[in-house]
Symmetry: D3
Subunit: 240 residues, 6 copies
């Protein structure tokens, strides 16, 4: 079997993490996975949503967007259309949940961090790339807060990264690009932690249903991919 | 371990499927799972979305809503607020995908069926109950089309049903009610087919990440639950 | 003359009031008038709209909705379209005014009750059925407040119910169903109180204008119909 | 009894109808009733709404608006808020229905006329003044179409005018201004035709319900008022 | 050269300013420039936008609208469409900036004045006419505040007026009407102060770019026009 | 006088134009002017807006956006708020007009090009940078169309570029950064063509009005700046 991209079944695309690219943001990271390119910024605000006021606890949330011509054919600008699509909302909820899963919200105190993940070029896997890049931006924003003495300890408990996998001609392959994704029989997004825990699993059959064994083999590939992403995240923020 | 509801870990709530309850709809089913109650209707229209015009292929889609006082405290009416929440959109996309996975869209010809899933009372598991009830409504709508000679063969290839599972005090339990869901350490929604295939897997850690073994044990419970749901679906539409 | 439904000119459809059907609401009632079915819930909140803050006075308001397939052909979901139609807003304003007309707002103290009237099946007369059913839900919600010692006296001063009448082939007939309504030469909605007073009169000529004498004969029929509705309301809440 | 305005119970305010004031419109009329001032324009378009295409029939509709400072305190501009209030929609539906009731839509052929009724100054009775003025604008627009040979006969079958009445200290009074309206125990809007028929009756109790006899006495006053308005309409368009 | 309107190149249209026309507003002015007619009202409110709270400073802002049939063919009602066009927003921002440029916001204290400029008939130059008329309305509103002892000194530091100019067949002409505007090779709006200063310059080439010399000749014409407008403003408010 | 940035009064910031950066777009250019960074893409579509259908003529339009954290403090995401601000709409109208001024729309035939200008980092002058960069993207998109034989001749008649100028302590300075812009007494945006013509002039007094002589001196600076920008545009697209 040769997958459309010619990569080995367990090969990630070329991954580049550029920390600190956004001049004004407290934390930022541009992530490229092959031709997919996402700009992630972390913005610190001193207020929390109403349901947390007085709780002593912080909040981490995310917004996701795609430049109109990030894709092969120009898409409508969501600001001009007057609303975000269901897909956009689903993705930004996923990113927010994934990052909260590795954050000690109590340790933040009452402040909020918003991760903006804006896709400059899309070639598949934008939601997973957003999570991986947003973790770097969030880490840097917390470090900024530590330096400013706004918080006493790093609230991040672990790393988190996302990667997609899919079944192509019945075989599991790692990190689908757009072309592969549109031909896959099933695709799954896995969000894993540095310690090997699962934070999110989202598997969808595109045509035929998939089996339990196939789900397991996709998960195994995902672990392989996120291990590499965790190493690159640590290098990007200069730890471990 | 005793779970909050007092049910056995592998026990579904009391399930009732009432087919044909909506006077005007081509197919309908009211489903109760314990105190959760959802009205599912299937509406047949002779046109398809623009991207399918001239393709000879049909479409199945879903919309989801919740009556303002389906919940403990009254929620905003989405029509009055002027937009659907991200949660609503995420759920209706899931329901649509799940039903399309067991439908032969080509066999439908160029017509659309919209499944409306409206939650009359919510007590956890509304998205899964919607899928299970919508399958019955869809089956009845197709049977109506067969009787009207609009289609020649039943386009449904298989059954599909959804059920939630979760980890409670580290133990896997089936079919969470609202109270259990809010205390669970992780919850997962499984959409399975009658033949045992997986159509959708959505697992989310609420606090601590979960392990691969735990994911497998949740899936095993889900199979147990959907087997019962498949029997009740067949009884509701009078097959098998 | 035989009217389309075959009913006597002064005959209501079969009316069923089911109090207490909504598990979470402080008060509720499902009303069926023939094939029209409306679920009415009353939700108590401890805050009032801005214009009443500090006034010591309460507020009663209503929202109205129709499930997309409550009708012969599926209607757009207002939440998906992003706005409520003029018809929806007109009806919910009418329901709110009607109920406030029999409520001692001062006796409520500063709290609000929202009546949600959601049409499950529509076959004409949904706004009138909503008013009749909402009175039962409101009564039960106030009784709940009395039991909770939130209020000292029942703030309802009287009963209120609505019924439609119309001219069919020049003859006045009571309680139009959808088919009759669409053929009527004029239709009128009357909202009357238990003491015989008029709260709302809305008469509309569909084709030819109608005369004063005809308006009077419609009103006479409406009294006949609401007398029966008042008896059923009292039975539903267990008074007099 | 002296009513707040000092007028006799059966006295209209000073009424002025100025036909043809809008330079660009096919028909127009500025109506003043005391301090209430509404600009009504009729715009002819050669297309009809989708539900009438191919029917050979025309359509008459209305839109209503109020300048932000037409009232004592500035109101929100509905265009800036992004939606029309329920009140606005209710009023424009009433105006449209009232004018259609005296129009032979078949005689129009497939064209539409939109009546825009914009309140420049509000002092009560704006919906009734809109109907009365819009009839003049509509008549002039039809006459324009006759002159252009777009239609062969005048499609207006009758005149139509609206007037409000109310109960003040238990006594019926005609044509309420804002101050009187806010103190009235009940108010009713009557839309009557030149031949004495009723097109719309909308009576609302503000505090105590009203009686059948009171409704009749209000209607009698309304006839008295519209007789005068019909004379002024005929003078404005130069007939009879 | 004869321009389409037949006016001399440096001739304004007939200008009429009617102060105090709006019964409820603290200040108002109806301005006619030829067939263009705009109603300007000034509404005083005792609160300021959030960014000025506690600053001791006031605010002047503007909203602009056009009646649907102010133009040759009926335009959509922005309230019905649910949003203001880009043109509307651009114009109301211009009007607000122009008036703030001659207002001592500190001298106002913490209060706001909103200028509503509603175009009753459009024949070119509506934004400039709005500025010229709004200054009169604002002056009268401030005078009202002085009389009420809300402010101690007149916060207006100077007059401000707007006028359009354009190139027609290469020649500069003053105060374009709609017909001239649509044929002009370039048009420019100038907002000038009584002391001769420039507050806003907006020049746009419609076809060929224009030259620096042409820009200068347009500005010279604008001075000529605003001198006349300043005289009429002073007459309207009874000063100098 | 030393201006805040320390640059000479007539010095542009460091300008970098990177053509062809967007993988999917027919034309693209990333422009940096100091710390301001805008991504401009040109998207070709084969249909034109309704008002041009059948005219044989093309259209060029623009949309503008700013990433939420392009600025010092995070701004609302316009897609999430559900509408574009007045500022956004004003800017995208300006960009569109500027590019149309140098395009032979007839030579395009019936096709549309949309320029998306998305600000990645904002430090003043984003609308002018957008115009300058968009010209490069448009040129490349037309060249792509030439290569595809969709058009026979280059429809661009001239170059166009924008630059801001302002008065700082009474002295004219070129190309304001954010800090300078917020302290300027007046600022003006000039859009000039390669042949020296004026396409757009937008001058605004922030505090005191400015004089005619000052406007002229600002324009002189602008010419100086755009001459440099024109050279860089030609280099970027490899002409002259």
């Amino acid at each position: 079997m040769t997958r459309p991209s010619g990569r080995a079944p367990d090969a990630l695309r070329h991954v580049v993490l550029e920390p600190g690219v956004a001049r004004h943001a407290e934390g930022s990271c541009r992530i490229r996975m092959g031709n997919t390119e996402v700009l992630c910024t972390a913005s610190v605000e001193s207020r929390v949503p109403p349901f947390l006021r007085g709780s002593g606890q912080g909040w981490v949330t995310a917004e996701y967007g795609m430049l109109p011509r990030a894709t092969h054919t120009r898409g409508d600008r969501e600001a001009a259309r007057g609303k975000q699509s269901g897909r956009t909302q689903e993705i930004q909820r996923l990113i927010g949940r994934s990052l909260r899963a590795v954050t000690d919200l109590k340790a933040m105190g009452e402040m909020s961090i918003t991760l903006d993940c804006d896709v400059l070029t899309a070639d598949g896997g934008t939601r997973c790339a957003s999570i991986t890049g947003a973790w770097v931006a969030l880490h840097l924003a917390f470090r900024h807060c530590l330096k400013m003495n706004v918080i006493a300890h790093m609230p991040l408990k672990d790393q988190v990264a996302g990667v997609s996998c899919g079944l192509w001609q019945g075989e599991p392959v790692l990190d689908l690009d757009y072309d592969e994704d549109s031909k896959a029989q099933a695709d799954a997004n896995f969000v894993l932690t540095g310690n090997g825990g699962l934070v999110e699993v989202q598997g969808t059959a595109e045509g035929e249903p998939f089996s339990e064994a196939q789900l397991m083999s996709l998960l195994k590939l995902a672990r392989h991919g996120t291990d590499q992403l965790f190493r690159q995240q640590r290098a990007a923020v200069g730890i471990g």
